[in-house]
């Protein structure tokens, strides 16, 4: 599925930043759990459920580590669970740790989902107009990284087939790798001269550089952008008002539910679930079209 990632990269980036802002600067377990659910749904709808399953054990490890470390350092809280000499573990600090763990996992999964939706070229396209020099350097670098990797492998393979590859682990091996690395460097400098010529022969000092924009902003992009901005403002307003405050210490205390809390939560949900909803809508549309065909 790629309905959502086909939106303009600026829209995707805005949503990503707003999610990070809302999740990182609020500390409400309901918000955090919703964020994790939203991230997981997003991963599933963009067809990366396998990745999620594969990484599940790492999430669990991170969660357990964060959850258990917090009580070791923080001994606030009124409900004491274990007390051994000067080690005090309270229920509140354990819960705080759990909240933190969920928070971090949420952010990690969102980052993963976004790495599938916004590729480097999309970031590049966003910043291209701002600084052509930096974007050229970035483009050249992105081109060079895979090329260097390929060449490194070629050099090593050739030397191996020449019988030069040291089998023992000693200084000779270090020297060998160093030599190979130097060879890679001189090769690359050599080829950089050719690349420079290629850049020069297509350059034009007398003309003003233009920017070709690969991604065009459409009506739907603007519409979605307005929704996001509005939701972020709404959420920020209620958050600053203290509607989503949640206290862990000295004793866990949640807000009373009122209309403002519901409004804040709804705006957050819209921010979080839009990608999955758009993907779902697209999937249904496909199914519908196919049944017609």
């Amino acid at each position: 599925m790629r309905a959502y990632s086909n939106f303009h990269p600026a829209v995707l980036l805005c949503q990503f930043i707003s999610i990070l802002l809302t999740v990182m600067f609020t500390f409400n377990p309901v918000i955090q759990i919703t964020s994790v659910i939203g991230a997981v749904l997003c991963m599933i709808t963009i067809g990366q459920a396998d990745k999620l399953k594969k990484n599940l054990k790492y999430y669990m490890i991170i969660f357990i580590i964060v959850c258990l470390t917090n009580p070791l350092f923080s001994q606030y809280g009124q409900t004491i669970l274990i007390k051994y000499k000067f080690i005090v573990i309270t229920f509140e600090s354990l819960m705080y740790g759990a909240g933190l763990g969920i928070n971090i996992i949420g952010v990690i999964i969102w980052c993963q989902a976004y790495s599938f939706m916004i590729s480097t070229e999309k970031y590049m396209a966003l910043f291209k107009g701002k600084s052509p020099k930096i974007s050229l350097i970035l483009a050249v670098t992105l081109r060079y990284i895979p090329m260097l990797r390929r060449r490194w492998k070629e050099i090593l393979n050739t030397q191996r087939a020449l019988g030069m590859y040291p089998t023992k682990k000693d200084l000779k091996k270090v020297k060998f790798f160093l030599l190979c690395f130097l060879a890679l460097m001189s090769w690359s400098f050599e080829s950089a001269a050719d690349t420079t010529n290629s850049i020069l022969s297509r350059s034009c000092k007398d003309a003003k550089k233009t920017n070709y924009i690969f991604y065009k902003i459409k009506k739907s992009d603007i519409f979605l952008m307005i929704i996001y901005a509005f939701m972020l403002l709404l959420f920020g307003f209620f958050a600053l008002k203290g509607c989503i405050d949640f206290e862990y210490y000295p004793i866990i205390k949640a807000q009373n539910i009122n209309i403002e809390v519901i409004a804040a939560f709804t705006s957050f949900c819209i921010l979080i679930f839009t990608p999955s909803l758009i993907e779902l809508k697209e999937a249904l549309a496909w199914k519908y079209y196919r049944s017609k065909i």
Partner: protein
């Protein structure tokens, strides 16, 4: 009408006494194809680079280069020069950005063309060159042929009046090379783009060229049609670069027009000789049928989810035999060589070298006097800063004593006649010299089997002969 006129052009590189180019004068007609040939080091690249102002080599010049009406040697602006397109030799190194589409729009962006205009041009050019299927791909994933087509396309998108190409097909395999040349000819016939091309693979281009220019040691020794070159250049060493049909004609001494391509060549033979097909040539059976390389049912793919590259490949190479593997790009030639040289393992099947399984050779023993592998790019063979150091290092790795190391190196240097080259940096050598030095390094261990991966790539016919000579030693 002349689009380009060169008058009495001299050029000397700084610090050198001999002129690289001497008194060059010729003109290029609008819409024509001009073929420039010459041995390595004859000044072809220098001449072509002088015409493209932005990448002009530094040195002392005199004379005139007139493009349309302006003398671009003295006061060429970039704006005029952007009417001249330039495509170089190495497909890989000319690519600037990471995506195909961004590479295409790089030139027009620099020229300040409006974004909407670029969009239309990119669409037009990409469908013309057949790029549309890989328009959004990474440039690093393309094959050599695709890369060179992309280089040509990203020059053509700036709509130049004249296209200058410096041995554009030298790094390509024959199939991609002729595809490239036919694209070039198509550009010439459909857009009227003037072409000035330096090339040593003349087979596809010789009969289509309007003019042939021959450079020899910095002097222009010939400037006329290819047909007249066939008679006038008889006996000159440059004749080696002419197409096979012309070479055949020059040997036969028959009063008839020289055939310039295979089609004409066949006609010529049928007219002058009895039209009969020769019998098929059978390979001589090797004297002693001792198999040195045996492969059984090789299956290979690079990763679990990819396509199989080898599907049950099996063959036997006898001792003393020259065994050649043919196939188009991506058909698995390099893979087979990698397998035989033990760099990768097949997931099914087995390889025997000298009757012993390849897996039984431990700790580099395979490479000590048994087998040596020359990769496509001879650059890869060298990791030190002089050729000599590399040779000595290779000898040392064979665990010779110090004295023997020196002896062996000297022996090899004598054998390959590379004494004048050994103190140079491997990267400063010309393609042919580098190839010979690389073969010399392989031969240090005195291997029984040599594997060569497309060894003639990027070499002109003279170099091909000398490296062939090396292999016959």
């Amino acid at each position: 009408m002349e689009i380009l006129q060169i008058k009495n052009l001299d050029f000397t590189y700084p610090g050198e006494k001999i002129k690289t180019l001497e008194n060059i004068s010729f003109s290029v007609l609008k819409g024509s194809i001009n073929l420039l040939i010459g041995a390595t080091g004859s000044g072809k690249s220098t001449l072509l680079r002088l015409i493209k102002t932005q990448i002009r080599p530094v040195g002392q010049t005199s004379g005139k280069i007139i493009f349309e009406t302006d003398d671009i040697l003295t006061d060429g602006t970039d704006l005029i020069s952007s009417k001249i397109g330039f495509v170089g030799q190495d497909p890989d190194q000319q690519i600037v950005t990471d995506k195909v589409w961004s590479e295409l729009v790089f030139g027009p962006e620099n020229m300040g063309i409006d974004s909407n205009d670029i969009h239309i041009r990119a669409a037009e050019i990409s469908s013309y060159f057949g790029i549309d299927n890989w328009y959004e791909d990474d440039t690093d994933k393309l094959s050599g042929g695709q890369k060179q087509i992309l280089n040509l396309a990203s020059v053509m998108i700036t709509q130049p009046d004249i296209l200058i190409l410096d041995e554009p097909t030298s790094q390509l395999d024959p199939v991609s090379a002729s595809a490239f040349i036919s694209t070039l000819v198509k550009l010439n016939t459909e857009f009227g783009t003037t072409v000035l091309i330096a090339e040593h693979r003349t087979e596809d281009l010789f009969h289509l060229a309007d003019k042939l220019l021959i450079l020899d040691k910095g002097k222009l020794i010939f400037d006329d049609t290819p047909l007249s070159a066939c008679t006038r250049m008889k006996g000159h060493y440059i004749y080696d670069n002419f197409p096979a049909s012309a070479k055949l004609w020059s040997k036969l001494d028959i009063k008839d027009l020289c055939p310039l391509c295979v089609k004409d060549g066949i006609k010529f033979l049928e007219k002058n000789f009895y039209p009969s097909r020769s019998e098929t040539i059978t390979a001589d059976a090797a004297a002693d049928c001792l198999p040195v390389v045996q492969t059984y049912n090789l299956w290979f793919r690079y990763s679990k989810n990819e396509k199989d590259i080898l599907k049950g490949a099996a063959f036997t190479v006898q001792k003393g035999e020259t065994y050649s593997i043919l196939g188009s790009n991506g058909s698995g030639k390099t893979t087979i060589l990698n397998l035989i040289s033990g760099l990768v393992r097949p997931y099914r099947g087995c390889i025997k070298i000298n009757g012993k399984k390849i897996t039984e050779y431990k700790n580099n023993t395979l490479y000590r006097g048994t087998l040596a592998f020359l990769p496509q790019d001879p650059k890869l063979v060298f990791i030190n800063d002089t050729v000599e150091k590399d040779l000595i290092e290779a000898a040392e790795s064979l665990a010779y004593s110090y004295q023997n190391t020196q002896l062996r190196t000297a022996e090899i240097i004598d054998q390959f006649e590379i004494k004048s080259l050994i103190h140079m940096h491997p990267y400063d050598l010309s393609g042919g010299e580098r190839q010979i030095c690389a073969i010399a390094k392989l031969m240090i261990s005195d291997p029984q089997i040599i594997l060569l991966d497309e060894p003639t790539k990027g070499l002109d016919s003279v170099c091909k002969k000398s490296s062939d000579h090396c292999l016959n030693i």
